[in-house]
């Protein structure tokens, strides 16, 4: 093709900005123009994408099999909710035990609570990861799963802080479409910058060959703790947004099934691909909703099948198995979206322009 590299960069940048504007306009319209159910699904896609990306950073990019993401989501959701709720709401809600006095008057704007949610989840992630990351492979998965359950049980029992099994209600719905997608955009930008820098190379190196990475002067343990901590930050932010979308949270929301659906997003999209996680989030979120029809009672001729709750999860498991058998690397593999790839430039595929 005739265009020079500089022209292409310019073109790609224009395309990126153009599509961002179109997408933002769509969101602005969708907030009012689409029914509330669809708005919620569109919103959930963004939040699942945030959570999927953060899990992908841990599992896909840094190669640490973690089953603890729901726990860090829970931390984020609770931190954010406690910071946003007004003192009056708190007084009314804590009925099992009175709320811890130092928490009562703490209140902050939504964005501050969002960052605090990520930060506190990251601190927990860092503390957990230092002992746990000495394990590898499946053992790491089991240990993180254990920690996630410990966090959930602590939340259930620390009633003065968390209101225990009753959960928190009446969280102001701050997670509007523009808010969720704004956070997603910031996260995407950071991820793409990070993974395209030399640090991204190093992260992949630690995943692919730890011994060789050590010989290259890389403190592999430090890098893995860092990646885990960053992933937990994303998990905390995603959990906080989730709480603000649903407006009520309780410990049961953050069971292992929550981690599984994130894992599904990451695996279907492609381990180690930023684009993949976004595509995975779109697919898994919409499919889980769309597949609800299989749980309704069905009449085929004279045959009547009563609705079976949970049937969509069975079908979803089968889809996941099919993906694992026929396309192990997921939809994107380790590749990334780029305009050049879309417009068939034969240019090297890179993540520069991912969404």
């Amino acid at each position: 093709m005739g265009a020079s590299a500089g022209d292409k960069t310019l073109r790609n940048r224009a395309l990126t900005i153009g599509s961002l504007i179109v997408f933002a306009a769509f969101l602005w319209w969708a907030e009012e123009g689409v029914d509330a159910y669809k708005v919620r699904i569109i919103n959930l896609i963004a939040i699942n994408a945030i959570l999927g990306l953060s899990l992908n950073l841990i599992y896909g990019m840094a190669g640490m099999f973690s089953l603890g993401h729901a726990g860090f989501m829970a931390i984020g959701a609770y931190v954010s909710a406690i910071l946003i709720l007004s003192p009056d709401q708190k007084l009314a809600m804590w009925i099992l035990d009175p709320i811890a006095p130092w928490l009562l008057d703490v209140q902050s704007p939504f964005l501050v609570s969002l960052i605090a949610a990520g930060a506190i989840a990251a601190v927990f992630g860092c503390i957990v990861s230092i002992p746990v990351l000495r394990l590898g492979g499946d053992y790491l998965g089991i240990a993180t799963l254990g920690f996630s359950e410990i966090i959930r049980i602590l939340i259930t029992n620390f009633t003065p802080i968390t209101n225990g099994p009753l959960g928190l209600k009446g969280i102001p719905p701050h997670a509007s479409l523009l808010m969720s997608y704004g956070v997603l955009a910031v996260l995407l930008f950071c991820m793409v910058r990070l993974m395209n820098s030399n640090f991204g190379n190093v992260l992949r190196a630690v995943r692919d060959d730890e011994i060789a990475a050590k010989v290259m002067g890389i403190d592999t343990f430090k890098i893995r703790v860092l990646a885990f901590t960053l992933g937990c930050f994303g998990g905390g932010v995603g959990g906080a947004l989730m709480g603000n979308l649903i407006t009520t949270i309780d410990p049961k929301m953050f069971m292992i099934t929550q981690t599984y659906s994130l894992l599904m997003i990451v695996v279907i999209g492609g381990l180690g691909s930023i684009t993949g996680s976004v595509i995975g989030a779109v697919l898994v979120t919409t499919m889980l909703e769309w597949l609800r029809f299989v749980e309704d009672p069905i009449t085929i001729g004279s045959l009547y099948i009563p609705g079976i709750p949970g049937m969509r999860m069975v079908i979803f498991s089968m889809l996941l198995i099919a993906v694992i058998i026929f396309r192990r690397e997921g939809i994107m593999g380790m590749r990334e979206f780029s305009w050049g790839w879309l417009l068939r430039d034969n240019a090297r595929v890179n993540a520069n322009d991912a969404k």
Binding site: F189, C190, R193, L194, N196, S197, N198, F199, N201, V202, R204, A205, D208, D209, I211, A212, A213, K214, V215, M216, G217, I218, D219, T220, L226, G272, M334, R348
Partner: protein, 270 residues
């Protein structure tokens, strides 16, 4: 030779795995700027010695002292591998260990990370930390120059795993050089090469030493390579140093011949 001329010194280094003594009271003194060899039959403890130097094994007893480009000798016994690399020792592996999901140039860039000043988070704010962004570009340019120097520039954007065997060996050396070492350990650089390729390797190793002012210690089974390029040779057998000296002395050393070919009586028994 005074102590200050040494790049690396092993003093009665012993490594024991339970009842097995992999390295037994080994003493080595490698002069700065030299190309030296460590040879011995299979299982003699050569790679174990490499792993001690690079920090993967902590010797049971004895010490390793390294003098980097700053001229100060310091003990590196039991230092973790990444700090050994930071001190200025780089190595390659007997079985090539490239980062297979990365391109050739990315492999070299990873080597440069140990000297990178910019922190990981700076790249998320490209308009604030312009210095970090410039450094990233410099690292890529330097990596490209290294690839050119080693004749790998055509492969820059190919996946490391897709390179031909010889190119993978060279890429491993390029990656090691990117860490800016003063001491290079080559573990069987001629393995799997045909006679012509190993002949080229000889001049290549010498050129490396001169261009990058390195001290090179290599393990090699190809005696032609060892005898031609090494200024001094140590011979290990079952963990013990059985001979050391210049190539001609090693060639005619009785112990060495016995270690490689067995003794006359043993052959008579067979």
């Amino acid at each position: 030779m005074t102590r200050n001329d040494l790049a690396l010194e092993l003093r009665s280094v012993t490594l024991q795995f339970g009842g097995l003594i992999a390295v037994n009271e080994v003493n080595m003194a490698v002069p700065k700027g030299s190309i030296v060899g460590l040879i011995g039959p299979n299982g003699a403890g050569k790679t174990s010695a490499f792993n001690i130097i690079t920090g993967f094994y902590k010797p049971t007893s004895g010490s390793v002292e390294f003098c980097g480009s700053d001229g100060a000798a310091r003990p590196i016994t039991g230092m973790p591998p990444h700090e050994v690399c930071r001190a200025g020792i780089a190595r390659t592996f007997q079985n090539i260990r490239l980062f297979s999901n990365e391109t050739a140039i990315e492999n070299v860039m990873i080597g440069a990370y140990v000297r990178q000043k910019g922190r990981w988070w700076m790249n998320m704010f490209p308009f604030v930390f312009r210095g970090a962004a410039r450094e990233e570009i410099e690292i890529r340019d330097n990596a490209m120059r290294l690839l050119e120097r080693l004749g790998l520039d055509n492969y820059a954007d190919s996946m490391a795993s897709s390179l031909p065997y010889g190119a993978q060996r060279r890429l491993e050396i390029a990656r090691a050089l990117a860490t800016n070492p003063s001491f290079l350990l080559l573990d069987e650089p001629a393995a799997g090469m045909n006679p012509q390729e190993s002949a080229e390797l000889l001049s290549f190793i010498r050129a490396l030493r001169d261009d990058f002012s390195l001290t090179i210690l290599l393990i090699e089974h190809d005696m032609k390579v060892v005898m031609n390029v090494c200024e001094y040779i140590w011979v290990l057998d079952r963990g013990k140093l059985i001979a050391e000296g210049v190539a001609d002395a090693i060639k005619s050393n009785k112990n060495v011949i016995e270690a490689y070919l067995g003794t006359g009586e043993a052959r008579g028994d067979a």
